[in-house]
Symmetry: D2
Subunit: 427 residues, 4 copies
């Protein structure tokens, strides 16, 4: 086929010269990613962060393309050229099962975007499967196995999913670029010039170790500054409470939801198929939320309106010690007339920025190894004191969310609100 | 108020320290701009171009803030400091009347985003008006007059709307940043250091004339390369035909549209209020289009599906001379079974990159003047041969759009398609 | 050899995996380019522009490396892979004959950096020649023939020297990066994806034509804004007058120059060899100029001091019509006591940004051709009205330089200076 | 005065509207900084790093200008506006005593750039002093006191010299920009929006603490990757040995040095004045080194040639334990014929990236404090585990340098070299 070039602000140009890749991009399943924001509710805090999963998935493909090209040119002895297409396809499709506001939605309705990714690839009804199976009958299963980590060649698996993979490298650069937060920038060119296929996976040359260290610091800082931003999490808990309220109302107000948000019903009823899932996206949910602002249920209407118009809850951090006081806070909130189930929330956000391989862990991580001058591998935290600090430790906080109105002066509930403030000070 | 800072990838930081500005940003009318893409269908061609009008409007405010600060500091004799807030507010709100896919929507339903901008500002029912009227009873009208060019102080008017204004400067930088097309970049710092308030408006020092020249070239190139890209226009014509089909079907299928797209009905019936308009946005329309993919009308369902899944029409340019052949092309298209009303389109896109002031024009432009060493003004095209080339000339093309299927081999319609191809060659 | 990577701010990384290239970089002739500024006196106006010819030459090599790699991968039928090394070497060495403040120096002493480039490559005494001749006995001559345009394969010649070549592309990007003047930026990625080897040379696909247009505009703007900046030219004329004075003094003050600036003597005596030339660089000349500030000749000392301490002349543009008045200006300058030969200067700077091929020209240019959809070539100015404006027209100005002191108030020469100012106004 | 703008690639534009600042920039003492590279020998490793101290000093001024403007506008109660000019002048002049290859030169000749900075400011003979004393008779001393930390207002002192000051912020951004090593980039805009004058100095708001953390990480990484690069240090030790050899030869070869490098003699004789110091710069030294390549002393000529042509020594790290073996290595080197005094070197490079205030330290550092929500100050390492890792710990290494030839095969000294290699393996 004639090469097509996608213009991309992160990688400048993303060339596609493989018909399979091009056809996959043109499937409805993949085009649907245009309608799902990469950062969910984060765009409400960092207004530039409005890019789609579509652009991220193309970016991951592009990194896989560059790395497999590089390996093909320079390390044909240890890298198997016949894995190139597989790697690029797995990169392109690794997130195809993501849905609208995935993390919140999953928490509430029990959907699993990873399972949907597998299904979109392996289910013979999908356009994606149709295209993949033309490569070879077992190609869909191979792609799925790369994504679920069971593919035997760990080089391929680690390029798609490890502590330094094409996915993470693209999203750090991309989220950083679009939000305007420079912390996510790292030296991609240096990482690409130091990445090597080795016998059991991927490693990095000694000359690139500061670039890898910097990548991990960038990742840590993006979590602290962007992904865990209290205002974005405020939008998340609002969304969760809103959907929770809708699900609670559904059994008694079927007609309303059939009229205003029919595509959610399979999820309210916990009886959904892949097709039901693919018919949802950010647009559909946002259109529903707008419709709900006109609902007769005051809680549903109010929460929907808060979400649509970005009237976010306030929050306070709490420790395990001060957690016991939350009950008292909820009481005061209820006293003012806010139902705590829908007007308060706890959000716990912790990240483990880096860890070594721990064979007895449930999900052991692939550690990052640096190739020494003598050819031996040394795990990164032995090289870098900064990485050693991040290694094995969780970073983040837990926050209690409540209506902003609790902080506003008010004649009617003056005493209650003063109590609330006094309690809040103790957190 | 405590200064709030919006992180922005184009201007790095956008500080807000005025309560009026902050309150305006928090109105539902302004938050709604988060759900309207700045570039409409262009994001389907340049996938990074998914930023919202919300981010652009903040950016225009930021440029107005920088320039009014500068004028206040350096030219207090000729610039009236009491116009600062007015200028910033007008900058923030200049696009508030934009709706979902404005240009296409307006072409079909006769809505007018400029009239809506005026109404949102001056209608006592809106949140925006409420906040503005607290500044002074006549403040809403003053803001509206800046935007509609009737405000007496032309310095303010030209900062908001002229051939080099805060609006255009922000959108060139922003659209360029997000699409990844560097052509829109120009030397903003230099322009800001050469802009001057003069008696009847705005001018630029001689030292900045190359920066202004470069800005105009950037604007020209963004039109040629991005805004007029044939693929984006293919999505526009698809959208137009899709909405046209829906409007055509509406009278006989009221129930379907009431169920699946109730918010469009006031527009189908040409009987809408501001409220109806504000209830539409990209999300709502996209959700409707997805619903329409399941319609029983094959044309509506097919066009909706093409739009949602980005199956765009192909196109060919034509001249006034070859225009006569379009009828023949339409005939062949109809012969294959495509209704030309919905499966073909003409798109004419021309821009006048720059023009001098022409008093007898219907909409005379404010020309760009350069302050010479002796203090006199010289119109830019007298200084720059490149600008002289662009001055007064329209650039663009007219294209005829048709289904891609007309180019695919096909046993059934082989002869017709061969005729079509032969005719196409002649265009 | 093991790949070496040069970190470069313009191209990020410049990999060298060819021993010949690496050895050439390590010759004294090439290392000497570290001591010669790319922009000569321009760094006195744009203080960031202090980069060396060394960095530029590496950059030209890198572009040649990328393009020959690309041609090898994608167009092996029309591009001869055996020209890769030749192209990269010619790119690396194309400027190796440049000397300290080349243009001014050449104007005065009649040296010719292009002739020195040829000599460094072909003279068996040089390290460069030694390395080249190990590739093949005729390799030095081949490299020299590429640089002097006589090599039969015009693809190679045009990559090194044409209106859009590796040299110009690198210097625009590089000079722009270091000076901080954004005008020189253009879309390199797009140009690289549209460049094609054709039968008789190099052409560009239709899809890249706006990028090529933008490159030419960038070039034009760099000339107007940076290379022809009046202050840089003021340093040039100062340098020229300074060297002229030294040459004038030399015959009567041999001992002084032997002590303080012995390496210039072969040039004063117009009797120099390659070795004499290679022993000069910016450092050596600057050290001499500092020594001259302590000379007993007041003119030499004063001019040297002005150069070292950046006390530049003022200037005024003049037309062919007003040229006649220069004599009167010189008279007034002389009346104040400044010897016009050393205290005034005319600097004429014009550039022809682009031209078509004109077979009857002394140095016909290779025009830029765009490959149309049907495969035919169309010369760029037929495609782009902006390029048509630049085509065949010279841009620049002529300036008369004089001591700044002529503009300062002064009791002694009050009348003379007032006359001077009055004459100046008329220019 | 009319505002002058210096175009700068790091800060885009550096406006000067204060006559004092402009006059200082135009002094010979300040213009001299154009001829002294900011990074000394580092440009031999990172070829883009060829920027001058002139550009850095302008950049430090620009940061001081921005911060004092900010403080004047926003914190007039706690910041004294009358310190603005003092702060900007101290920023501009803080490095004016730097000389050619300062660090190496000082190590050998006992000069002290900080003492020279004080002298240039306070000595009535200098142009700088002349301009400063026109502001007020005690102004020179005030400027000097800011730079030597004795000025009573610690806000001013800390802006010029502390662990996060205008100097360091500019050099990290600048060195990073010019070398092309991205690690030095940090979020300047965020730091500027969180910096605050407090009672006893400078602090940062909580919202900016990640930006400050990132700044410290950037600084650490620039030290590890750029400033301590083994190849740059190889040039430093070469330079040191070269000057050491010249000094050693001087007493017996006075005539040679008088002819070829007269300006170094006051330093060889340890009898220099400020004037002698100001007559040196990179150009002068480089010109001398080139002259020395033609000396009859084989060691001087060889070392000069190695420096000029960048033939650097190789190196090996050593620990305190393995240090004892260096004697053996030196013996083998001597056996091959290289005088260890001039052909080997030890370079020890350690940096303390951050430390808290330690009152009993000889040079106690000013710690970085973060303003908590309740207004209290918290020292940064209590907030950031990454900073805690860097706090109080030295990073770097010690290296032993030796001629590259020791690693090349050689019939004559085969056994010696094999011994050397064997010893080297043990280090």
């Amino acid at each position: 086929m004639k090469e097509k070039i996608f213009r991309d602000p992160v990688h400048q140009q993303i060339p596609v010269s493989d018909q399979v890749i091009y056809d996959l991009i043109n499937t409805p399943e993949f085009q649907r990613l245009r309608r799902i924001k990469q950062l969910g509710t984060t765009g409400f805090t960092f207004h530039g962060g409005e890019h789609s999963r579509f652009s991220h998935c193309l970016g991951v493909y592009e990194l896989a393309r560059q790395i497999t090209n590089l390996f093909t040119d320079k390390y044909p002895d240890i890298w198997q050229v016949e894995d190139n297409l597989l790697t690029m396809v797995a990169a392109l499709l690794h997130d195809i099962g993501h849905g609208a506001y995935s993390h919140t939605f999953e928490g509430l309705f029990g959907t699993d975007h990873e399972a949907f990714t597998q299904e979109i690839i392996t289910n013979p009804q999908t356009n994606v499967h149709h295209i993949l199976s033309k490569v070879a009958p077992d190609f869909p299963d191979k792609v799925a196995s790369v994504i679920n980590h069971s593919y035997p060649n760990k080089q391929v698996v680690q390029l798609i999913s490890s502590q330094i993979d094409c996915d993470r490298m693209d999203y750090l650069l991309r989220d950083s670029y679009f939000t305007g937060v420079q912390y996510g920038q790292f030296d991609l060119a240096r990482i690409l010039s130091s990445i090597r296929p080795i016998k059991n996976g991927i490693a990095f040359t000694y000359g690139g170790y500061h670039a890898v260290e910097d990548y991990l610091l960038s990742r840590y800082q993006m979590y602290m500054q962007v992904y865990f931003h209290p205002a974005s999490r405020a939008m998340e808990v609002l969304l969760k409470n809103l959907l929770k309220r809708a699900q609670h109302l559904y059994p008694k107000h079927v007609a309303f939801f059939e009229k205003e948000s029919s595509r959610l019903i399979p999820f309210f009823e916990n009886n959904y198929q892949l097709d039901d899932y693919l018919r949802l996206d950010d647009s559909v949910l946002n259109a529903y939320f707008q419709a709900w602002t006109e609902s007769h249920d005051p809680i549903l209407a109010d929460l929907a309106s808060r979400f649509i118009n970005r009237k976010i809850f306030k929050s306070v951090t709490f420790s395990d010690a001060s957690k016991a006081n939350l009950g008292q806070l909820e009481k005061e909130i209820q006293a003012v007339g806010y139902e705590p189930t829908y007007y308060t929330a706890i959000n716990t956000s912790f990240d483990l920025p880096y860890d070594i391989y721990r064979p007895d862990s449930a999900n052991p991580r692939t550690q990052i190894d640096i190739i020494q001058a003598n050819g031996h591998l040394l795990e990164l935290s032995h090289q870098s004191p900064l990485v050693a600090t991040l290694m094995g430790t969780f970073h983040g906080d837990q926050r209690f969310y409540f209506p902003k109105e609790m902080l506003l002066p008010d004649d009617l509930f003056r005493a209650t609100k003063e109590n609330f403030l006094a309690e809040l000070e103790k957190m």
